[in-house]
């Protein structure tokens, strides 16, 4: 054995040469204090006449005002931006420009100003073809099984499902002479009782054995998965080469008739505060509760790039703004009452 105590470097000579090329430099983004999502519709809701749309915006309005008053902004003047996500991934109606104009008008008439419009399809794949959802998919870490996760076990291949624990087990025979009885499901982080949740992240539609590119191009992401991408984008946490994974484009004054021609995020109001924000709030109808529970589960299992996380924490600290370390704690919801 060798025991060594380095001689005290009495005078540390200044270094002449240094080289460490950072593969990725994290951009500092302009940030609002709060990003508010002002309602959500399925595509067919947008086609079913003006009244339901107007009614939702009218119900959003008072909560929007209330939210403005809760902004956590340290010593700065509050900056809030609003946004709206168009559900064009699962269903796509043709006359995009008409739908957009009507939507923005109805919102405005209800006193809800929409600053930014984004498309759900972009959360899967950008206009330029880059797979945004993959950024999240590849950063998902399954929750370790209690007691046996030693780091010596290779991570399980993703099946397109993510859970917060262990599913119930049927009584079966696994291998020869290796049988077990029925066992209840279990939430690993439970307090007393479990709420076991198993979330479908995507469906793979490619033939088995297809190459990775083929698999990805045919993959159908689930609604909660894309919503999780959307939340991470709004929080400025999802990056490609240090830049936001989805970037904002100024509106050029007219809407294309094709959803696929829309920029990923469009800035509708020139005077809007920054799109990305320290925190996010989503105001939406009650029936999205289940989806948002799934969103939270997904976000809890995404391990984000440390430099990005740190850059935001440092910024917040600098501006004396409290920022929770758990990402899901930066996200809040208001669910509009149901039955309307």
């Amino acid at each position: 054995m060798t025991a060594v105590t380095p001689a005290r470097a009495s005078s540390t000579p200044a270094r002449v040469f240094s080289e460490r090329n950072q593969g990725t430099t994290v951009q500092n983004l302009p940030l609002s204090h709060l990003s508010i999502e002002v309602g959500h519709f399925y595509m067919d809701d947008l086609e079913n006449g003006e009244e339901p749309i107007r009614r939702q915006f009218e119900r959003v309005k008072p909560w929007l005002d209330a939210a403005m008053a809760t902004v956590v902004c340290g010593e700065e003047k509050p900056r809030v931006s609003t946004c709206f996500l168009v559900d064009d991934y699962f269903q796509r109606w043709p006359d995009a420009s008409r739908i957009m104009e009507r939507l923005l008008r109805l919102a405005r008439e209800s006193g809800v100003e929409i600053d930014y419009v984004a498309r759900e399809s972009s959360c899967a794949r950008r206009l330029d073809g880059f797979g945004v959802a993959e950024l999240v998919a590849r950063r998902i870490l399954e929750e370790p099984e209690p007691e046996y996760s030693t780091g010596g076990r290779p991570p399980t291949a993703h099946t397109g499902w993510l859970s917060n624990g262990r599913p119930p087990r049927e009584a079966t025979v696994l291998n020869v002479m290796e049988a077990h009885d029925w066992e209840a499901g279990q939430e690993y982080g439970k307090r007393n009782h479990s709420i076991f949740l198993d979330v479908e992240l995507w469906k793979d539609r490619a033939e088995p054995g297809a190459d990775e590119e083929e698999v990805l191009s045919q993959r159908l992401y689930s609604c909660p998965f894309l919503a999780a991408v959307w939340q991470l984008v709004r929080l400025g946490l999802l990056r490609k080469d240090g830049a936001p994974a989805l970037e904002v484009t100024d509106w050029d004054g007219h809407w294309s008739d094709e959803w696929t021609q829309f920029p990923d995020i469009v800035k509708v109001r020139p005077q809007a505060k920054p799109f990305y924000a320290y925190r996010s709030l989503s105001i939406m109808p009650q029936h999205f509760l289940g989806i948002e529970h799934a969103v939270r589960t997904i976000i809890d299992h995404v391990l984000l790039d440390q430099p990005v996380v740190e850059s935001l924490l440092l910024r917040a600290q600098d501006k004396k703004i409290f920022l929770p370390s758990a990402v899901a704690d930066r996200i809040s919801h208001h669910f509009l009452e149901g039955g309307q």
């Binding site: 010596g152 076990r153 020869v176």
Partner: protein, 305 residues
């Protein structure tokens, strides 16, 4: 180089001969890995006289690795952990001898693509360190056998990779010859399985050689052999040869044979030169292992089918 040891019946001497081969190969300067793929009853630990591995390892052996339970399988340097003093010695000019044990309580499993991927990775990793890896498969058709064929099929193995040898062990009796031929050629046999996995039939058959184990000679009758016994033996041997040939296991496919070794009747072990020197083992036994080892590493024995 990957060497697979297969047999139709249990108790043919597949494991004992393979362990002896591994040892002999290391003596002639090869770095050798022994992979115990007999998941149901891994015996290599016992043959190499490693007390902690008599029935496999409790800490993540090959079975666990294939099932994705450990990122890396357990392994030992046989010379370091064996209890047999003579075996501990590494003569100058000889190579490494490592054992990748199976798991205590392993069993057959239902084969999936993930298992095959693990096997591919395993073989590649082992071949990057060792000259020869001997893979002891369980008797008969098994998931391990199927998995191995898929993992070395031309579909997945780089074309310039080291050669593959497929050994088929059988005893030198009527029933064993018939059984071995069945395992190789019958429907769902090794050749069919290999063709399914992507080998071309001729190409695969040129990798296969048989080893006849524990072949008795006339001394088996006792000290004094009668001329009748000698004649009978010669005749029986000829009949067996005819049968083997008719069943496709003729001379052209023969890698070699091991004589009946009394020491091995009592104890599964490595037969060392000291055993011969002490006049415990037959010289013919070690000689046959040496010849087999030599044949395995020289390509000319495997050319011209």
């Amino acid at each position: 180089m990957l060497v697979f040891s297969s047999s139709d019946k249990g108790g043919t001497g597949r494991s004992v001969t393979s362990c002896n081969l591994a040892y002999r190969l290391s003596l002639i300067g090869q770095d050798v890995a022994y992979l115990d793929f007999d998941f149901g009853s891994p015996t290599a630990g016992a043959i190499f006289e490693i007390p902690t591995l008599e029935r496999g390892t409790p800490d993540g052996g090959l079975h666990s690795y294939i099932l994705g339970k450990v990122a890396e399988p357990a392994r030992v340097d046989v010379r370091v952990v064996t209890e047999r003093t003579a075996l501990k010695e590494r003569p100058p000019g000889s190579g490494k001898l490592s054992l990748f044990p199976g798991d205590v309580g392993g069993a057959e499993f239902h084969l999936t693509n993930d298992h095959i991927k693990k096997a591919i990775d395993l073989f590649e990793t082992v071949e990057r360190e060792f000259d020869v890896a001997i893979v002891d498969l369980s008797a008969g058709r098994s998931s391990a056998l199927d998995m191995s064929l898929q993992a070395v099929s031309p579909k997945v193995r780089p074309r310039k990779a080291d050669p593959i040898r497929w050994l088929l062990f059988h005893r030198w009796t009527t029933q064993h010859v018939i059984a071995a031929s069945g395992l190789l050629f019958a429907e769902n046999g090794i050749v069919a399985c290999a063709t399914n996995a992507g080998f071309d039939q001729r190409g695969f058959r040129s990798m296969v050689r048989t080893i006849r184990t524990a072949v008795p000679d006339d001394t088996a009758f006792g000290k004094e052999t009668t001329p009748e016994q000698e004649a009978w033996l010669r005749k029986s041997d000829d009949i067996l040869k005819g049968l083997a040939k008719a069943r496709g296991l003729g001379q052209d496919l023969l890698a070699g044979l091991t004589p009946l070794e009394p020491m091995l009747l009592w104890r599964e072990q490595v037969i060392m030169d000291v055993d011969v020197k002490r006049r415990l083992a037959k010289r013919a036994t070690t000689k046959s292992f040496d010849e087999l080892a030599d044949r395995i590493i020289h390509d000319d024995a495997w050319e011209g089918f």
